[in-house]
Amino acid sequence: MSEAGPREIPRIVSSRWDLEDGFTLDRYESTGGYTALRKALDTMTPAQVGEEVKAASLLGRGGAGFPAGVKWGFCPPGVFPRYLVVNGDESEPGTYKDRLLMERDPHQLIEGILIAAYAIGCGQAFLYVRGEMALAQERLAGALNDAYAAGYIGRNIMGSEFSLDVVLHWGAGAYIVGEETALIESLEGNRGMPRLKPPFFPAAKGLYLQPTVVNNVETLSNLPWIVSNGGGAFAELGAEKSTGTRLFAVSGHVNNPGVFEVEFGVTTFRDLLYGKQYGDGIRNGHRLKAFIPGGASAPWFYEEHLDLPLEAGAVGGAGSMLGSGAIVVMDETTDAVKAAWRVVRFFARESCGKCTPCREGTAWLEKILRRMIDGQGRKGDVDKLMDVCDNISPQITWPPKQTTICPLGPSAVSPIASAVLRFKDEFEALCQGDAEVSVAINGKAYLSQPVQPEQPEPAEAPA
């Protein structure tokens, strides 16, 4: 961690968030809006736009973190139409950024969609917004209507040969639809269940079995800046493989919960949790117990991980993931069993039911944890929990192995393995003193040991 804290960086995606009218076309145009699209259409070929995005090394911001430019290149040549599907189905617990991007700067997203569709050669784009987000739908509908009327969307955009319709679509309440093949199923009017792999990427066969690129809202919102300033300028920010800036939502037991745009790859968890301009430390002067670094699916981190940079490789190497940029902070007063149960209940409720290990496994995990909390824990319950986890994700390792066709089931293993190994005494108290585990657990974050068990106070917040 640098002594001075994170350096000043441009706000790439959140620059209009503080503006009362940042969502309007007038404000968007008066603050540089749609100039990147103009630049792309007037001076760049689709291939050149693709090259800039590759040069930017823009990693997908939805959770999996796959390079966007590379993903675009997976579309097989000569097969048309290609579709662009925008994933605005933000639902991972702790994640709160795409809704803000849609509500406060909808035109930036629309411009990103147009730039991507131009580069990929998409015949039509579908903007899939989470069903529960009524205001985001309203702002996007208004923005789309205005942008159509102004000639930014539709036939012969800005007088060019480029034409594109963007269809606003929204879901109806199902976390699993955030998985890209489930999103496509939902968009086809079906139950939102993930498709069997391969093909691993919808770029080969996606919507209506045509080549389809599915990109996250934040990913696309970066494109206007990249086209305006160049992929190189973007790649200069951040770390070698985690470039640009990124939005992180810091929630839970911090003094100043919020969504912050920080330099990707170099800012540390300590900066974000304790920095005055960010989380501003743990509430009531309490000590940190654990934190979730990347949404409910991610294995938990502890004090010894605070100095890791927010960089995909570093976090992955330590046994967890940055996922969707959701950091949930738990202080020393947190009931670890309760916290694990609540996250597991989420996965049990949201399992689509297609794969047995997930459908049955998550439900049993939830029931066993619930009976422990209700004072009816039995000897051997903890071992049973880990046995079920091992059946869902063999060897309980990281990245998790899957017995299912999507990662939802294995995600339920993360909170349990995290809580059981680190806070064994809390489980013992609920299981008649028996929290023995006979199943092998291999994930690095699960096995992490406190460096100094009796650290006095959390480090001073950086200036």
Binding site: G123, G131, S163, A172
Partner: protein, 206 residues
């Protein structure tokens, strides 16, 4: 409580026409039915089946997968309290308990006067504004018990009608495209390279 009104039937057809394959309009039409009636009735699902040329069972199959579609009437106001991790940590459960006491019902049920339905829901993406809740999918951030009481009173007295429309109404702005601005619906079986891509030599964005 029934099939689409003539006005909504026209709207339904407009929605269908936006998609390359009619079936993609399934969820939008289910939302339209819920907007019309407050819930999705069997008759509405039959009408949707006719419009999309699928069976009513297929419509039910899709409808029943999604949490937001209610196949029975719910209260005038659907109050959704998040108790997932970020909210749990700062009082989401206590907020839900307060609402249960105040309304005299358990989560998952409706008050006898049909005014309020209370739900214990999963993350609604307001994690840094916890604890949070939605009423008919309109957000209330960092809510205290006192604020909840006030919101319930205001809702009962009809003072929040401008902010909280009736259950079933999501976006109050509809997507509208003038015919001359519309590009095209890209049908999956028409393999034509877009003109701006074809113009640029190899035609591949690599």
């Amino acid at each position: 409580m029934a099939r689409f009104t003539p006005e909504n039937t026209t709207l339904a057809q407009e929605i269908i026409d936006r998609y390359p394959v009619a079936r993609s309009a399934m969820i939008p039409l289910l939302h339209l039915a819920q907007e019309q009636d407050g819930h999705v009735s069997d008759e509405a699902m039959e009408h949707i089946a006719e419009l999309l040329d699928v069976t009513p069972a297929e419509v039910l199959g899709t409808c029943s997968f999604y949490e937001m579609f209610k196949r029975e009437p719910v209260g005038e106001y659907l109050v959704n309290v998040c108790t997932n991790i970020s909210c749990l940590l700062v009082g989401g459960e206590e907020l839900l308990e307060h609402l249960e006491d105040k309304l005299g019902i358990k989560a998952g049920s409706t008050t006898p006067d049909g005014k309020f339905t209370l739900e214990d829901v999963e993350c609604i993406a307001a994690c840094t504004e916890a604890p949070c809740m939605q009423v008919n999918y309109r957000y209330f951030h960092k809510v205290t018990n006192e604020q909840v009481d006030e919101v319930l009173d205001d809702l009962s007295a009809g003072r929040l009608a401008h902010e909280v429309p009736k259950h079933g109404t999501l976006s109050r702005v509809r997507q509208k495209v003038a015919p001359e601005r519309r590009a095209r619906v890209a049908r999956p079986n028409v393999n034509v390279e877009p003109v701006w891509l074809a113009r640029n030599s190899t035609g591949e964005s690599s």
